[in-house]
């Protein structure tokens, strides 16, 4: 019988559905969620699909319960996911910290909408990107990916599971309403071509004094023992030593939190993804991500047609932030333009790495930024050549 886990072939597919298929192809077998627009189609398709592959779907009483349920299921050894939108993402924040501290891998999809608060439930936003990075309390590291197409809803969800398992961290897929509800061509590869990075597992038998939070390898990732395997390990959100025992000393806390942060920094190259368009000789570099990058690509193509040496750096991983391409592009670039559907979040991150003028093309959300204001910004830099004001409000 043909596998129902990987729907190999070419499809004309909804973004949220492509995300679901990516998760199931990646081996996700547990989904807990709470309905919220515009992510609901992920839960609905999971409810349909998981029983077909012997997985478990449960609709919990709220987003807090949802994220705890996926942390619990993952602790038992099963790839687990939840999907939500801004307000639900906020509710999950405390326990994203729990997953960080316990080093239990999970995947959370945030299909962003206009915000803050209830905002615009049915319309897009990109204003949760800093929440993804810093929303939980304390110092920590995570990874986050921003798909710009249904195809990437599939591909990046697979990658999210792999990165989560490989490094024992929460990984977010930071989609938006436009990409979530977009229907496009999606190619699902054969099952054997779906990449799979496994969790590191204990190599000693349970009796041999296994220390569950001892990271002996260079990647700073300790092996993960699952519930019921006999290792009798203690997991706690409290500061703990290598045995997992609570230890309230400043020394242990510093050692643990430094490793959690350094674990992501040290392995950033494995997690980081980006794409360049017409960057070879670009003098004006547009930086964008998610649905806004589609407009940015159009604007760059139009600028090129008009003879302006513009290029696009599309961020695929938002976190860890792809700083290397920025540093490499800086010497040849007159100005950077950051187009994003918020009033200036990732622009701050860009400004940290370059000395050139950085111009924002922003809209608070609710509608895509069209190519025109991005093209306007490119033309202004090209004609005036000089610093033209740090932020530019979009009419879009």
């Amino acid at each position: 019988m043909k596998s129902r886990a990987v729907l190999t072939g070419e499809h004309f597919m909804h973004g949220d559905h492509a995300c679901t298929e990516g998760a199931i192809a990646a081996g996700c077998r547990f989904f807990a969620g709470y309905p919220i627009t515009p992510s609901t189609e992920i839960a609905e398709r999971m409810a349909q699909r998981l029983p077909e592959v012997d997985g478990v779907f449960i609709q919990m009483e709220d987003e807090i319960a949802s994220i705890l349920a996926i942390v619990g299921a993952s602790a038992a050894g099963v790839r687990s996911m939840s999907a939500t939108s801004g307000p639900g993402f906020s509710l999950m924040m405390e326990n994203i910290g729990l997953a960080v501290m316990m080093e239990i891998p999970i995947v959370i999809v945030d299909v962003q909408r206009g915000s803050p608060s209830t905002g615009l439930p049915t319309l897009p936003g990109q204003a949760d990107v800093m929440q993804a990075r810093w929303g939980s309390h304390g110092d920590y590291g995570i990874a986050a990916y921003a798909p710009w197409s249904p195809q990437e809803m599939f591909d990046l969800t697979v990658l999210a599971f792999n990165v989560a398992d490989r490094f024992r961290i929460p990984v977010m897929v930071m989609s938006d309403e436009v990409v979530g509800h977009m229907v496009e061509r999606v190619v699902i590869p054969p099952e054997e071509q779906i990449p799979r990075w496994e969790r590191k597992r204990p190599t000693v038998p349970p009796e041999n004094g296994f220390r569950p939070f001892l990271a002996e390898d260079n990647d700073l990732v300790p092996p993960l023992a699952h519930a019921g395997e006999g290792y009798r390990v203690h997991f706690t959100g409290l500061t703990h030593d290598e045995r997992g025992y609570p230890d309230m000393s400043a020394e242990t806390h510093h050692r643990l939190v430094t490793r959690l942060v350094e674990k992501v920094r040290r392995n950033a190259d494995t997690m980081i993804r980006y794409e360049g368009y017409s960057l070879e000789d670009a003098r004006i570099v547009v930086i964008s991500y998610g649905c806004t990058a589609r407009s940015a690509r159009r604007a760059v193509a139009q600028a090129r047609a008009a003879g302006i040496p513009a290029g696009l750096l599309r961020l695929i991983s938002l976190w860890p932030f792809p700083e290397k391409p920025l540093r490499e592009l800086a010497p040849q670039t007159e100005a950077f333009i950051v187009a994003e559907m918020n009033l200036g979040q990732m622009i701050c991150e860009v400004e940290r790495y370059v000395a050139q003028p950085v111009i924002g093309v922003n809209h608070a959300g609710g509608a895509m930024i069209p190519p025109a204001p991005i093209l306007d910004a490119i033309e202004e830099v090209a004609t005036r050549g000089a610093y033209i004001g740090r932020r530019k409000a979009s009419a879009g």
Binding site: G72, R232, H234
Partner: protein, 281 residues
Amino acid sequence: MAHTLVAEKHPLDELIRTDRMPHIWCPGCGIGIVMRCYAQAILESGIPVERHIIVSGIGCAARTPGYMNLDSYHTTHGRPIPFATGLKLVKPELTVTVFSGDGDLAAIGGNHLIHAARRNVDIKVICINNFNYGMTGGQVGPTTPVGARTTTTPYGNPEQPFNLPYLLAAAGANFVSRWTAIHARQVKEDILYAFRKPGFAFIEVLAPCPVGFGRSNNIDEGVEEMWLYRRRCVLAGRIPEETPWEALQVDLREERPIVVGRFVDGEHPVFRPVRLEDKLS
């Protein structure tokens, strides 16, 4: 002939993380007694120790997993039930017990508590009820009686408390019982019974907190509260036929009966995730 009076090995040694002793509980606290009942029930359950999982939230009672030599998960405040739910649903062969306090389970975690009871998820919940937030120093909680003094109700508690067995019975729990810290045998027996009974089980154990609750309410010795239990506890039957809800209210400061017993022992269908072969057959 000389007899040794000190055993080299305690029968429960295997289940205790002795390297974590001494524990943090105050003299006169009742949590340790319940932990011992749980450990004894594990040994008697016949279920391999490796298959017992303990999950807690935050608080004094929630420190228990750290002292138990099991796979143990000390999660965030109020959240052990959804964590346990996810774990149990993907590994049904494990026996999953939530061991936490009334503040954790019934206040911040109250919504999870009633929904897990409604679903009848196959997890066991042991709730230590000491009528206050002990760990943070004796503040008012969802079970603090009206008029009781705590550090955040210095003029007396103006709120009605939860009547936990009645709440759980109403929410649809399959098994509900209440005992106190002097009912060591009954607590152990009910935990053991709950291990073997499919579905959501809720076992409330009233336990002294002489430092947090007792000191402010003239019961400032743990043993005094134990005497009080012994004097006042009466055994009752099913809710609501044999035990009306008013009878289940507890106020240690008043000379009135403390009603204990097995209040619900139902046969509701256990929550099972949808399986396609069931639908097709």
